[in-house]
Symmetry: none
Subunit: 190 residues, 4 copies
C-alpha cells in the first residue's frame, strides 16, 4: 500500500487541525509533524499557510454540501429538504461536539490581509444560499421573488443556529431554528 502524496497528507492534517483547534491555534510545525512531511516539501506545494487553508475550505465546502445533499435526498419536496437540513445540522454538530462551522470559525479572528480565506468563506455561504433558493424555486407554490427572499431568511436562521449552538454547546438553537424555518415555509405558502 502506497503512502499518499505530500500534498494530500498536508491537506488532511491541516483540515483536521484547522477545524478541531482553529486556524490561529494551528502552526505549520504541527501540520508537518502530523502529516509526516518535511517543511520545505510542504512549501513546494503551498505558497503559504493561508493557501493551505484555502484548499481546506474549498474541499470542506464540497464535502459538506454533498453530505447535506445526501442527508436530505430521501425527502421529496424542496420545503421538506430545507427543513431536514436542520436535522442535518443537528447530526453534524452533535457529532463534532458543537465545534461549529469551519467557515464561520476561520473568518472571525483573521489577519486583515487574508483575502483568499475570506473569499472561500463567502463562496461557501453563497453556494449554500443558492442551494436553498434553488430548492424553493422548484416548488410551484412559491414565486421566484418569494423564493429569493425566503432563502435569505432561512439562511440567516441556519447561520444563527450554528453559531449559537456552538456558543451554548447545545442543540436547542438548532431546533428553535428548525421551528422558525417551518413557520417561514408555512406562512409563506398561505
Amino acid at each position: 500500500m502506497k503512502k499518499s502524496s505530500v500534498r494530500d497528507r498536508v491537506i488532511e492534517a491541516a483540515s483536521y487541525l484547522f477545524y478541531q483547534n482553529g486556524y490561529n491555534q494551528t502552526g505549520i510545525n504541527q501540520i508537518i509533524e502530523e502529516a509526516q512531511v518535511a517543511k520545505a516539501s510542504m512549501y513546494q506545494h503551498f505558497r503559504s499557510k493561508e493557501d493551505i487553508a484555502a484548499v481546506y475550505l474549498r474541499q470542506r465546502h464540497y464535502n459538506w454540501m454533498s453530505a447535506l445533499d445526501k442527508f436530505v435526498a430521501s425527502k421529496e419536496t424542496g420545503k421538506e429538504k430545507i427543513i431536514a437540513s436542520f436535522d442535518y445540522l443537528n447530526e453534524w454538530l452533535v457529532d463534532v461536539n458543537f465545534i461549529g462551522c469551519g467557515f464561520q470559525n476561520i473568518i472571525t479572528d483573521l489577519p486583515d490581509d487574508h483575502k483568499k480565506i475570506r473569499d472561500e468563506v463567502k463562496f461557501h455561504k453563497n453556494e449554500l444560499l443558492q442551494w436553498i433558493e434553488n430548492l424553493l424555486l422548484n416548488d410551484e407554490s412559491i414565486s421566484a421573488d418569494s423564493a429569493k427572499e425566503l432563502s435569505t431568511e432561512i439562511m440567516v436562521v441556519l447561520e444563527g443556529a450554528i453559531i449559537l449552538s456552538q456558543i451554548q454547546k447545545d442543540a436547542w438553537p438548532i431546533f428553535s431554528g428548525k421551528k422558525t424555518c417551518i413557520n417561514l415555509l408555512t406562512t409563506s405558502s398561505i
Copy 2:
C-alpha cells in the same frame, strides 16, 4: 488632571484592539504600548491575556446591552422593542464596518483551555436571551411558554443576522432577520 489608572488604560487599549483586530491578532506588546504601561505593571493587575479579555467582555456586555436598551427605549411594547433591536444591529454593524459580534468573534478560534472567555460569551448570550424573553413576558397576548420559545427563536435569528452580515459585509442579513422576526411575532399572536 490625573492620568487614569494602569488597569483602566489596559482595559481600554485591549478593548479597542481585541474588537478591531481580534484576540489572536492582538499581542500583549501592542496592548501595553497603546496603554502606555510597563509590561510587569500590567501583569500585576491581570494574571494573563485571557483575564484581560474576560474583563473586556464583561464590560462590553454592559455597554452593549445598555446601548441596546437606550436604542429601543422609545418603543412602547415589548414586540416593538424586539423588532427595533434589528435596527440597532444595523446601526451598530454599519458603524463598525461589519466587524461583527465581539463575543462570537473571540470564541471561534481559541485555545481549548480558555474557559473564562467561553463563560463570558455564554453569559452575554444568555443575558440577551433573557432580555428578549422578559420583553415578551410583559406582553399580555403571549403566554409564558410561548415567550420562552419565541425568545429562543428570535435569538437564533439575531445571531444569524450578525454573523452572516459579517461574512457578507452587507446589511441584507439584518433586514432578512428583521422580517423573520416580525413574522414570528405576528404569527405567534394569532
Copy 3:
C-alpha cells in the same frame, strides 16, 4: 526558432539577477524561474550556485572589457584611451544607476570557501591592470618600469572611483578620479 539551451538561459537569468540584486539576494529558485528551467536540469549543468557565478563573472569580464575597448577605440594614444576609460565608467555607472562593479560587489560578502569566485574577480582585475599597462607600454615616452608603476596607480584610482560613486550614488568620484589620472599621466611624462 529554437529555444536557447538550458545552460544559456540559466547564465542569462543569473547574470541579470546577480548583478541587479546581488549574489546573496538571488536565490536558486529565482534563477530557475526566470530561466524557465527545472531545478535538477540546472544542477546537471552547474555543480553549485558558485559555479554559475563563476561562469557569469567570466562572461561579464569579456563583455565589460570589450565594451571598454570599443568605447576608447576612437582615441589614438594609450594615454588618451586610459583617460577616456573614466568617461566609460561614467556612462556605464550612470546607466546602471550606480550599482557598481559586479566583481567588487560579489566578493565583499561571501562565504569563506568560495574560491572560484574570488579567483574570477582577481582574474578580471589583473586583466584590467594588464590592459592599462599595455596601453602605457605602447607609449614611447614612458619606460617599462614607469608603465608598470603608473598602471597600478591608475588601477587604484579606477577602483576607488567605482566603489565611491556606488556609495555616494553620484558621479563625482569618477570625475575626481579622472582628474587624478590626468595628473598622473602628465607629471609622469615630465
Copy 4:
C-alpha cells in the same frame, strides 16, 4: 566582576561576526550564541538585524576614525597626516588579513530596503572626506577651492587602495595609492 549588558554583548559579537564573515553570512542565531543572550532579549534591545548593523557601523566609525587620528598624530602638517593615513591603511589591513572596509563590504550585497545601513555607510565616508578636507584647509599653501577638490581626489584613491588590496590580498595597492597621493599633494602646491 559583572557580566556586561545584553546590549553590549550583542554589539560586540555582531561587530566581530559582521566584519569577519559578512553581514549576509552572519545569522541572528550566531550572534546570540556568541553573545550568550536569549533571542528575545536581543530583540528587546534591537528592532532588527539591520538595527544591530547600524549600531555596529556607527561604533566602527568612531573607533576607526579615532585610531586613524591617533596613528597620524605624530605628524605635524596636514599633508603629512594625509600621506601617513596610507600607512595606517597598511597597518590595519595587514592586521585584519585584508578583509577590507566594513562599510564598503556591507553595502555591496544588501537587500534593497536597508536604508539605515546605507545611511551609516554614507555618513562614514562623508566624515572621512571631511577629515581630509579639514587637514588641507589648515595648510596655508592650499586654497579653499583646492582643498575641496584635492580631498575628493585623495578620497577616491583611499577607497581604491582599500578595495583593491582586499581583492588582491596584498598591500601593493596601498603603496600605489600612497604614491599617487604624494604626487597629488606635491604637484598641487606648485
